[in-house]
């Protein structure tokens, strides 16, 4: 009975979404207050029904309701309860339900925190979100219903893809979707601004905290995904330029550009059309990500079930939403290049260059991702571009961004004084060179390690210099407003990230070896001794567990237990053992036994020493914190409407160094 309730809830949610999408927009157009007032209750009602559907699906999983096809396909009696909850978003139908659930969370948050915004504007924003919701709910109900029954009911289900049975995977999709879907708010704001044709830029200020939070979630989601790939796929890699990864990375790049463009538009009134365009792009790329992953247009290591009917539906939806928005943009975007003038040496210029690089990088990633498809279309055969293309172009495009980054906080709006910038350049430059020289000695002249150290110190030290300057010059309590703290954290994070990427890349030692019990291998100054393999058992798997003792200078550092698991339904999964550390990770993955009949004999093992790999994710987490901090700035808490409407002109004057 409950699955039918879930389906009914989805249908009711669709009807309410329709009301939320159409009536307030008509109301805003005709200036009809009663119609506009439909927006909030309709959104709340939709959220109630979508949550109900979501909870019912969770319940079906917890209750082992194998009469539901989706539950039977993705769980079984032996699957622990926490993975049964994670199984809700373990496959196509459930991930879409999660998507729409999160969209409703964002919409609900918007209805609560928009009390002080003009009624017409809120009506338009909620209307746009309602229309997005209609598309997704229709998609779920008509092509991907998670509540479909399976008759006769099987005694036990299949299994959740074992690759997904990992703590990292339980929260990776929800966090990632918080980011993806969060861009819908910035999107709705910009569409509402286009519809309203407001000349004021107040909407940008209202949109900023939402964009920052969405981007912060997306950062966290990507970090979680990268960590998961590292821990779970057993190759020790943290990024593969895989279509699915790229799908999350493109909105992130555009989102980073958008955050900066919004700052320019809000404070200086410049780049108005560009900010609107970026808002549309960020959300479009999120939708595109969903399309790429779900339509099966591209294959990837993340092999999900795909179906041309679904692909066609998302494509039409994409065409209507994005095509419609871009058409609206062409018709209604602000025609005059507004804003205050700025000189060559100014914060605007730096942000503009950064924006250009980030968007071009996103376009580059898009092109690389779609390359196999272009190859098919132009009849070039099976072609694809890999890490060399992405790695090289991305590095080149990010060079100017890294070079400009330490100057960010010092640059003033409009025009900056050059002597100060030169001083900073000297200080950060000298620190970077000094550390690079030390790194050269320590690593025997590894180019990437030297470059990584220099770039990291350049960004990190440059940012710290500004922290010190503020500390000295400003009175306590006014030193670091949240918005600025956010920027500093995120920029510092870029430095940490750079150190992680380049040092790991340069210094990692990876070796595939054949080892007999008792044998030892020396890698990166560590002695890995293989102590054999024994059988072990988990809640829903059995497997072989190896023991590897790691010694350094005769002292025991770690005892590691890599596993090779066979799950209930026969899928085999490598569970690598990782000994984490701030300056290095030790990583052991169990391969195959040399002789299948003798599991006590020699095995193939993968032994990695990965210095500074953790800094990659630490950098990402700093950026995430930056996003959250910036969003929390008191300046963004919308004042009363009357006040806000009077203030914009004054607000534009305001400039923070």
């Amino acid at each position: 009975m409950t699955p039918e309730l879930g389906q009914l809830a989805l249908i009711l949610a669709l009807l309410l979404a329709f009301a939320q999408g159409v009536l307030p927009l008509i109301g805003a157009w005709r200036n009809h207050r009663a119609l506009m007032a439909v927006a909030r209750p309709a959104a709340a009602g939709q959220a109630v029904f979508v949550s109900l559907a979501f909870v019912l699906l969770v319940w079906a999983f917890l209750q082992f309701d194998f009469s539901v096809q989706y539950v039977a396909d993705n769980s079984n009696l032996a699957l622990p309860w926490y993975y049964r909850i994670a199984a809700v978003w373990g496959a196509h139908e459930g991930s879409l339900l999660l998507w729409i659930f999160i969209l409703n969370l964002w919409t609900l948050a918007l209805t609560v925190f928009s009390r002080n915004l003009p009624e017409v504007f809120v009506a338009r924003v909620l209307g746009v979100l309602g229309l997005v919701s209609v598309g997704f709910l229709a998609f779920i109900i008509f092509t991907s219903n998670p509540f479909l029954r399976l008759l006769p009911m099987p005694a036990d289900g299949a299994d959740l893809n074992p690759v997904l049975q990992d703590p990292g995977m339980t929260f990776h999709p929800p966090v990632l979707y918080m980011g993806y879907v969060g861009f819908s708010v910035a999107f709705a704001f910009s569409i509402a601004a286009l519809l309203g044709g407001e000349l004021e830029q107040a909407w940008v200020r209202w949109a900023r905290p939402w964009t920052n939070v969405a981007w912060a979630f997306l950062s966290a989601g990507i970090v979680a995904g990268s960590w998961w790939a590292y821990a779970e796929l057993g190759w020790g890699g943290w990024w593969f330029w895989d279509p699915v990864e790229n799908a999350s990375f493109m909105p992130w790049l555009v989102g980073a550009a958008l955050i900066h463009a919004q700052a320019v538009t809000e404070k200086r009134g410049a780049l108005r059309a560009w900010t609107i365009l970026l808002s549309i792009f960020a959300f479009s790329l999120s939708l595109l990500g969903t399309f790429l992953v779900r339509s099966g247009v591209l294959t990837s290591v993340h092999a999900f079930a795909s179906d041309p009917k679904r692909g066609l539906f998302i494509l039409c939806f994409l065409a209507v939403v994005v095509g419609g928005s871009l058409l609206l943009y062409a018709l209604r975007a602000p025609k005059v290049a507004g804003g205050k003038p700025f000189s060559v040496v100014s914060r605007e210029t730096a942000i503009l260059i950064g924006n250009l690089m980030l968007t071009v990088a996103a376009a580059m990633v898009l092109l690389g991702t779609l390359f196999p498809l272009v190859g098919d279309a132009l009849n070039l055969g099976k072609v694809s571009v890999g890490p060399p293309y992405f790695g090289l172009l991305f590095t080149l495009l990010m060079l100017p961004v890294v070079a400009l980054l330490p100057f960010g906080p010092y640059l003033r709006w409009g025009k900056s004084d050059t002597p100060l910038l030169k001083r900073i350049m000297w200080r950060a430059g000298l620190a970077a060179i000094a550390c690079a020289i030390i790194a050269a000695f320590l690593t025997d002249g590894e180019t990437k390690a030297i470059a990584g150290t220099a770039a990291a110190v350049w960004c990190g030290f440059g940012t710290l210099l500004y922290v010190v300057k503020r500390w000295r010059e400003m009175p306590a309590g006014r030193r670091y407003p949240a918005e600025m703290a956010g920027m500093l954290l995120a920029h510092f994070g870029v430095g940490v990230f750079l150190a992680g990427v380049l040092l790991t890349n340069a210094l990692s030692v990876e070796r595939d070896v054949r080892m007999s019990p008792g044998q030892a291998e020396s890698i990166g100054g560590y002695d890995f001794r293989f102590d054999g393999v024994h059988e072990t058992q988990g809640p829903n798997w059995h497997g072989d567990q190896g023991t590897v003792t790691v010694m350094r200078n005769g002292r025991e550092v770690a005892v590691m237990h890599p596993q090779k698991r066979t799950y209930t339904r026969g899928q085999v999964q490598t569970e690598s053992a990782i000994n984490p550390g701030i300056t290095r990770d030790l990583y052991v993955a169990l391969g195959e036994p040399m002789d299948r009949t003798q599991p006590d004999g020699a095995w193939a093992l993968r032994l990695y020493d990965k210095p500074f790999v953790r800094w990659i994710w630490a950098g990402g987490l700093f950026m995430m914190l930056g996003g959250f901090f910036a969003a929390a700035d008191r300046r963004f808490r919308a004042k009363r409407v009357a006040e806000t409407e009077a203030v914009p002109a004054a607000a534009l004057q305001e400039s923070r160094a």
Binding site: V297, A330, L370
Partner: protein, 180 residues
């Protein structure tokens, strides 16, 4: 006009995706074109299942087209394929050579005795060495080799009645046209 650029750019993208969806309904993405198609089959000398003292080589089979069908008693998908070969094997018009892959001879014999033997001859590759030359991913797989010893068609996975009608038989018909 310049404000319409993003729109047109996007429409181009939509066209590309539309093409992608259509393309995928026509092609299986997992299907990697075998580099061996239209190349001579690798040379092999393999013993027969029923009499290991006799061997069969590529040269000995030259002159007439034949179908090599990779199978093993441990292979579940082969069990699905087997009835299809039993009912339609005779109708395709070329001899079918069973290629017993990484299997124990007794298991293979027992399997054929139980389920029936659709093969004109069974050769054995217990180690799976020759299979590497053929680029065998796993069982079942089928290779159509023409009279000159050239591989003309390959199928990964079980032969289904549909695959036989739509792919294998046209390929065999094409061979027949070449050699009147």
């Amino acid at each position: 006009m310049s404000r319409l650029v993003p729109f047109f750019g996007f429409m181009l993208l939509v066209a590309l995706f539309g093409f992608g969806i259509w393309w995928n309904t026509q092609h299986d993405q997992r299907e990697v074109p075998s580099p061996l198609i239209n190349k001579p089959a690798p040379a092999f000398v393999l013993p027969k299942l029923d009499d290991p003292t006799q061997t069969v080589s590529r040269e000995a089979l030259m002159g007439k087209p034949y179908l090599i069908n990779v199978f093993a008693s441990w292979c579940i998908a082969c069990g699905e394929e087997h009835p299809v070969l039993m009912t339609q094997g005779k109708s395709i018009g070329v001899p079918i050579i069973g290629y017993n892959y990484k299997d124990a001879a007794d298991d293979a014999k027992a399997w054929l005795a139980k389920h029936g033997d659709p093969y004109d001859m069974v050769i054995v590759d217990q180690e799976g060495r020759t299979a590497i030359d053929f680029g065998v991913y796993g069982a079942p797989e089928s290779f159509l080799v023409d009279g000159k010893g050239v591989i003309r068609y390959k199928r990964i996975g079980p032969l289904t009645p549909e695959a036989i009608e739509k792919e294998l038989k046209p390929a065999i018909a094409a061979l027949a046209k070449e050699q009147p």
